[in-house]
């Protein structure tokens, strides 16, 4: 297929506003009469609140109101309603909102916080899922069984188990009996932060007319709207949520994170907007974390390399509230089967309450943590079988006619893992390794295959409004959150291709406002290109049809005699007979002044064509569409410092169709870097009392430009998908999935050291090298 605009590296429509510093982010917004909130966090990660004395704080300069959670009855959450906007009678983690000061400026609010006195009765603290699972462990939620939750999931009363996910495919016990070889190991992917450079923030305003307005650095405006409406007893139409420009998301700005707390605070000063923006410390300690996942895995295989069975146990330290972590944990359960067809699976995932900040979405969640185990295990298994790891993998890859762990049979449109593998193999293993070691370095190469499952929910749609203007230019309005990933460019290019109009004449929305934007479930799971793109295609087709219909009346011919070319609608057998778009978009006027036709504005949405919640054995359909990929690397390990240097990182994904060549490369390069951070540098650490030890960018060891791979190979396979525009599927999360296992496989190749935990920091590497000697 020849494309005019799709596949080209057009410049993103928001580039100039951003690079001139004029793009408006949450913290740039000022509203008339705006107040500022500061939030008090507790001294303990788990404690009963005996008393809170706010009297001194109330007297401080500029203070308008001091708020506590006393008597607050609000519970919220999308999956398990276990969240509170502010601690009521106990605190469950170190970043929990405990009280707030509202003042005329942020400095005054922060100063007054210091005057609040709290008495606690400390309780034992849980900082790991396995600890929380112990028989006599203290309970993080005493009455978790009472919480509302979606059917088919939820907490087990009297335990710290917030959910237990079980997947059964075939007969794992028998599968292991049939195996000639079994490998078993435990892996750990510790807590991290999405750590966008823009921290979380929100503004809430309870108007005198009982409507509620909210601005947030979130990607889920409609979820926020629905939840605020429910909690404050208003119709959804009375809640208006604005999403300004977002300074990165990577997962942790999804769901409701800070909005309920800011709204609760603002509800005490109706009539005035209240703004709160997280410090970086608060961003680490009180917004969503990523990962916190231990995976125990057992794989059985025949001598010839065919896999017979897999047993996985995921233990997820999901933090003090489980609403946002539940899908992370479930995803880690079923995605542990990776890119392979395994006939017999017994996969379980324990979602465990702990006294830590809640875990939520993080780019790729559930995939990188569990497939870290899978891909390390495939290498281990290959060694045990004395088989080439590529050959072992090739015997088991998913593909057309093969069944995933959730029991979904794949077909050709789900993409081709082997083509991705070939690309990476050639890039990394194409020539012989020059040396394994010299005076300064050890050298190694590693590989990982990967599979990304789609993310959906029943009726999870993305909407689109399109209108033609008098001059034939077009405006498109959608509810998808632009976080930097470049979805506006995707919309522009897809629409340009469909409408045969140059992208410069298509204006894409700049902000989301639930009052004007079409409904979108939420912009998560790398689904926008596929689903949002389909909505755009549908709107364009509708608009073209409207113009043709009007032209048929104008020219007095049958509809199917006409065609459209982006400039006019014309008679197929004689293009000189035509009506230009300008004469059609607001209806057609005959020379005698009579008018016909419709105003060309169209609206549509794209739902997932099929999605089913899993049955009691975790069998169901995931919606559309699975994506396959492969990643590999060449590394060097500095013998003296222990530092792992990435000389070359290669990635290949079957993305169905590349919409914007430069942007997609940027997505992959960014994702790889983010996961390299997790693999080699980043970890949020807690002491045994649940205090976070390093809630600072420097101490979190956020990677810098000097940590980037020296060379990156980034290529794409294009097996068209059926839903996505021109066959495209998403790519946002995929680049993080195979990074940790490929690097750790390379470390093994270089040194024979079998790491099962990340990050492999220089200190850890040095220690391991010493222990080896």
């Amino acid at each position: 297929m020849e494309f005019k605009y799709v596949g080209k590296s057009i410049t993103r429509p928001d580039a100039v506003k951003k690079i001139t510093g004029k793009a408006i982010f949450l913290n740039d917004i000022k509203l008339p009469g705006m107040l500022h909130a500061a939030i008090l966090r507790p001294d303990y990660a788990h404690a009963k609140i005996l008393s809170i004395d706010t009297s001194a704080a109330e007297k401080c300069e500029g203070v308008v109101k001091v708020v506590t959670g006393r008597g607050c009855k609000i519970l919220y959450g999308d999956n398990i309603r276990d969240l509170v906007p502010m601690a009521v009678d106990k605190v469950r983690y170190i970043g929990e909102p405990l009280a707030a000061v509202i003042a005329e400026n942020p400095y005054q609010a922060k100063q007054a916080l210091k005057e609040i006195k709290v008495e606690y009765e400390p309780l034992p603290v849980l900082t790991d899922a396995l600890q929380a699972l112990e028989k006599d462990a203290v309970l993080v939620h005493e009455n978790s069984g009472d919480y509302w939750h979606l059917p088919g999931l939820g907490p087990i009363q009297g335990t710290n188990i917030a959910n237990l996910y079980k997947l059964k495919k075939g007969d794992a016990e028998k599968g292991f009996k049939d195996a000639d070889v079994v490998v078993e190991a435990e892996f750990n992917y510790p807590h991290g932060s999405s750590c966008a450079i823009e921290p979380h923030g929100a503004i809430a305003w309870f108007h005198e007319d009982k409507t509620i307005e909210c601005w947030s650095s979130s990607i889920c405006p409609f979820i926020i709207r629905e939840e605020l409406a429910r909690v404050y007893g208003r119709p959804s139409s009375d809640v208006r949520v604005h999403i300004p420009e977002l300074g990165g998301c990577f997962g942790y700005k999804s769901d409701i994170t800070v909005e309920q707390t800011v709204a609760y605070i603002a509800s005490f000063v109706p009539g005035r907007p209240v703004k709160w923006v997280a410090s970086r410390r608060e961003d680490f300690t009180s917004t969503l974390l990523g990962h916190g996942i231990r995976t125990r895995m057992k794989i059985g295989a025949k001598k010839d390399g065919r896999l017979t069975a897999m047993e996985t146990r995921v233990y997820h330290s999901t933090g003090a509230y489980a609403d946002t972590g539940i899908h992370v944990c479930i995803a880690a359960g079923h995605n542990s089967a990776g890119a392979y067809e395994i006939p017999n699976c017994d996969l379980q995932a324990y979602l465990m309450y702990t006294n830590q900040p809640a875990v939520g979405a993080y780019r790729g969640y559930g995939h990188q943590e569990s497939q870290f185990a899978t891909e390390r295990m495939m290498d281990m298994l290959a060694r045990k079988l004395k088989m080439d790891p590529f050959e072992l993998r090739a015997k088991n890859y998913l593909g057309p006619g093969k069944k995933t762990a959730v029991g979904e049979t794949l077909c050709e449109v789900n993409g081709d893992v082997t083509k991705c593998v070939d690309i990476v193999k050639k890039a990394i293993y194409g020539k012989k390794q020059e040396k394994k070691e010299d005076d300064k370095y050890f050298y190694g190469r590693g590989f990982a295959a990967l599979m990304k499952t789609p993310k959906g929910a029943p009726n999870s749609a993305k909407g689109c409004y399109l209108k033609f203007n008098q001059d034939g230019s077009v405006c498109i309005n959608m509810g998808g959150a632009e976080v930097g990933q470049g979805l506006r460019t995707v919309v522009q290019q897809v629409a340009a291709e469909c409408l045969m109009i140059p992208p410069e004449r298509i204006k894409v929305y700049t902000e989301i406002d639930t009052q004007f934007s079409p409904w979108e479930w939420q912009t998560i799971g790398s689904m926008f290109t596929t689903q949002g793109g389909r909505a755009v295609v549908r709107c364009c087709e509708k608009a073209i049809k409207m113009m043709k219909k009007t032209a048929a009346q104008a020219l007095r011919v049958d509809l199917d005699m006409l065609d459209y070319n982006g400039k006019c609608v014309y008679l197929k057998n004689d293009p000189t007979v035509n009506v230009p778009l300008e004469g059609l978009v607001y209806g057609y006027m005959y020379p005698n002044g009579m008018t016909v036709g419709e105003v060309v504005q169209s609206s549509d949405a794209a739902r997932l064509p099929r999605y089913s919640n899993p049955d009691e054995n975790g069998q169901g359909t995931m919606g559309v569409s699975h994506t396959f990929g492969a990643q590999g690397c060449e590394i060097r390990i500095d013998k003296e410092t222990g530092e792992v240097l990435v000389d070359h990182f290669a990635s290949a994904f079957d993305v169905g169709r590349v919409i914007n060549a430069r942007q997609i490369r940027g997505q992959v390069a960014g994702g790889v870097m983010m996961a390299l951070g997790a693999t080699l540098h980043e970890e949020l650490k807690f002491d045994k009392d649940g205090k976070m030890l390093n809630p600072f960018m420097k101490k979190y060891r956020f990677p810098t430009i000097k940590n980037r791979p020296k060379k990156q190979t980034i290529e794409f396979v294009e097996t068209p998908e059926t839903i996505g525009p021109f066959g495209a599927r998403g790519i946002g999360e995929h680049p993080v999935i195979g990074v940790a296992p490929s690097i750790l496989n390379a470390i093994y190749d270089a040194t024979g050291i079998e790491f099962t935990q990340i990050p492999v920091t220089p200190e850890k590497m040095k220690e391991a090298l010493k222990a080896r000697k």
């Binding site: 400095y107 450079i197 390069a669 980037r708």
Partner: protein, 160 residues
């Protein structure tokens, strides 16, 4: 204890009342409505707040506003002329270095300070400067290419 300081910002002299606790970033953002410089961290790590003070790139979140009295400041708002963006901005756009854009103004200002002082900065010097800027989106690849392209464009412009 409010006091007055005078700054020359993007060529215009401006006086501001401050309370004393403010950093330069607070003054620029809250008092002068120059919100292009961003805050991203608490420990002077991210570089999103970078502006040019007396010719040097500075992390404005760490500079007490008091100490800036009399200073000559250039912010991201002062770079483009009319609708024409600065060559550094143009280069970063061309390289695809803008994703969310939150780190971008700071990076532009650091490169501006560097290339104004030394247009022949070596790759190592450029990398050292960029090391002070954290970006979560791009993986730094496009930023690196954009910086090199910016240097090239600026050199070309100078020859003209």
């Amino acid at each position: 204890m409010s006091e007055k300081i005078t700054l020359t910002v993007n060529g215009t002299k401006r006086s501001v009342e401050i309370d004393g606790w403010e950093r330069l970033l607070d003054v620029l953002r809250d008092k002068l409505d120059l919100t292009g410089a961003k805050r991203g961290c608490d420990d002077v790590a991210c570089g999103a707040c970078t502006v040019v003070v007396n010719g040097e790139a500075k992390k404005s979140c760490s500079l007490p506003a008091k100490r800036c009295d009399g200073a000559e400041i250039v912010t991201i708002e002062g770079l483009a002329s009319g609708t024409e963006v600065h060559p550094i901005q143009q280069a970063l756009i061309e390289a695809g270095a803008v994703q969310c854009g939150y780190c971008t103004p700071g990076i532009v200002m650091s490169l501006y300070a560097l290339f104004t002082k030394n247009l022949n900065a070596s790759e190592d010097e450029i990398e050292d400067v960029l090391e002070g800027h954290l970006c979560r989106c791009t993986g730094y690849e496009a930023i690196w290419e954009g910086a090199l392209l910016a240097q090239k464009l600026l050199k070309k412009n100078k020859k003209k």
